[in-house]
């Protein structure tokens, strides 16, 4: 299979972060354009991951089962660390891994740090102040009713901890997802004793996600082609969202019935049977040893600094 690399700038448009929309940027964009852009960006991200996971890099060579286990292990280690220098070292260690796995360093760093200011940065900023985190004031900012206020050492450390921990965690997950084809990730979950039914459903959900995405894009493009100028009527806009999401459900359900027929026609009787095709190699052993060593060093160092 030949794959054309998707240039990183294709992913620059909008960071698709917390889709619940409670926190994050709310651009003044029209709902139709925004939804179309959202669908396109989803597909682009999937295509990008397909490209990167097909590269001949370091992590691409590791058995997906081992990769899932080791990266989840490292995530746990990250969450156990209590000191900024240790976390910082862990974060820095992800960078050469990314490079060795043929990920663009610029993209890798950006993907992580674009997330931080939007979600974490905004939340953590107030935590540095003595209002929120009590402690020794290191940067006094004046007085309030006779009490000193300012940035506390505890607040600063807490903010630093959370920012670097989030950055390291995201880096680890990005390393996993960008170096493992989705299919192998699913197969790895299956091999790791996640119930087959659950994996089957997840695989199918992912597959039809893109199919239904096409319908969404079609509906919104059709709407756009009929619109003159900007959509300003909020009520009509809401009615359209209700109708399009409703129509989508109709389509999704009809599709699920068709898929059901197609499964039954090929002898499906409620038992998920699958093929496993992994074999462990020397590189896997090396990788596991390296991860274990890293975990021991990190946790030992963290304990040595103190709790």
């Amino acid at each position: 299979m030949t794959s054309t690399a998707t240039p990183a700038w294709l992913l620059d448009s909008e960071v698709g972060l917390c889709p619940c929309g409670c926190i994050g940027t709310r651009k003044k964009a029209n709902l139709v354009d925004k939804t179309i852009a959202g669908s396109a960006s989803l597909l682009r991200r999937a295509m990008f991951a397909d490209d990167t996971s097909a590269q001949p890099g370091l992590l691409q060579r590791v058995d997906p089962r081992i990769k899932v286990l080791s990266l989840v292990g490292l995530l746990v280690v990250t969450s156990l660390v209590h000191h900024i220098p240790v976390l910082l070292a862990m974060y820095l260690a992800t960078l050469p891994l990314a490079v060795a796995s043929r990920l663009s360093l610029r993209f890798f760093v950006k993907r992580v740090w674009l997330f931080i200011p939007i979600f974490t940065g905004v939340i953590v900023l107030p935590a540095m102040f003595s209002f929120i985190t009590h402690g020794h004031i290191v940067v006094p900012l004046g007085h309030w009713f006779g009490h000193r206020v300012g940035l506390t050492s505890q607040g600063l450390r807490s903010a630093g901890l959370i920012v670097i921990r989030v950055a390291t965690s995201i880096s680890l997950v990005v390393l996993l997802t960008l170096t493992t084809p989705w299919v192998e990730l699913l197969a790895a979950l299956r091999a790791l004793r996640v119930p087959r039914m659950f994996v089957l459903v997840t695989g199918m959900a992912y597959r039809y996600l893109f199919h239904l995405l096409d319908s969404v894009t079609d509906m919104y493009t059709a709407r756009k082609s009929r619109m003159v100028g900007r959509e300003t009527d909020v009520v009509a806009g809401r009615a359209f969202v209700g109708a399009s999401a409703g129509a989508m459900f109709g389509k999704a359900h009809a599709l699920s019935e068709e898929v059901y027929s197609a499964m039954i026609a090929r002898g499906y009787n409620g038992n998920a049977r699958t093929m496993n095709r992994f074999r462990l190699g020397v590189q896997d052993l090396v990788w596991v040893t390296a991860c274990l060593a890293a975990a021991v060093v990190v946790l030992g160092w963290d304990h040595a600094i103190g709790r």
């Binding site: 893109f210 068709e258 009787n269």
Partner: protein
Amino acid sequence: MQSVADPILVVDGVSYSYLDKFPALVDVSLTVRRGEKVALLGANGCGKSTLLKVLDGLVFPDAGSYHAFGTAVTEQHLEDQQFSEGFRSRVGFVFQNSDAQVFSSNVRDEIAFGPLNMAMPLDQVKRRVDDTLEMLDIADIADRAPYQLSGGQKKRVAIASVLVMNPEVLIFDEPTAALDPRTQHWLMELIVELNRAGKTIVLATHDLATLETLADRCAVFSEDHRIIADGTPEDILADRRLLLSVNLIHDDDPMHEHPHMLIP
């Protein structure tokens, strides 16, 4: 080995309605013999797809009976593991919508789905999957996800996922619909070839141009969900009044005297 004239699928006086309200089949009878190529002809919504689903044991008639290979195909019989495995491996269904048929997360898993359900040993499944990939010339896309496939490739994968079970009867719903001319041509050749190799073919179509290649017998559906004619493609195509009455052609349609022969 049984004779060529041996009836293998027998539908007798079958009626079926969706949601008990909308009739799709009204008193339909059809016999498919071993080695035949039978086309179900009719306008959209006449019931031909429903009949295909009856033939594949996906829906069960409200009235009438359906026998395959001498045994009645009913919901209860298909609950039986052994009967179900036998029937499902002998009758293969290529759906019109490849997107519904290609539901696994990659091509290889998709093709392996049927044989795995038949509880075939793993190494045999692997061998068969590889052979099928080779045969349909899709080995290069074996590890791709469905959303990376073109419409024609999806159709090939859908067909591969059925052929891998080596069925005796192959059912195609609108096989040539929405395909580019090249894939269309390839598929027609494949159907003819499979038939030569001894497979029984049943297909639904409203494409008169491909009829003479794809069928040696046609059953024509009226718009009130009955079969009103059964004969050779030549006879059916010559009967302009019949085709007009079932809305397969319209008044100012220049009648295909000689339907396009895509396969010489």
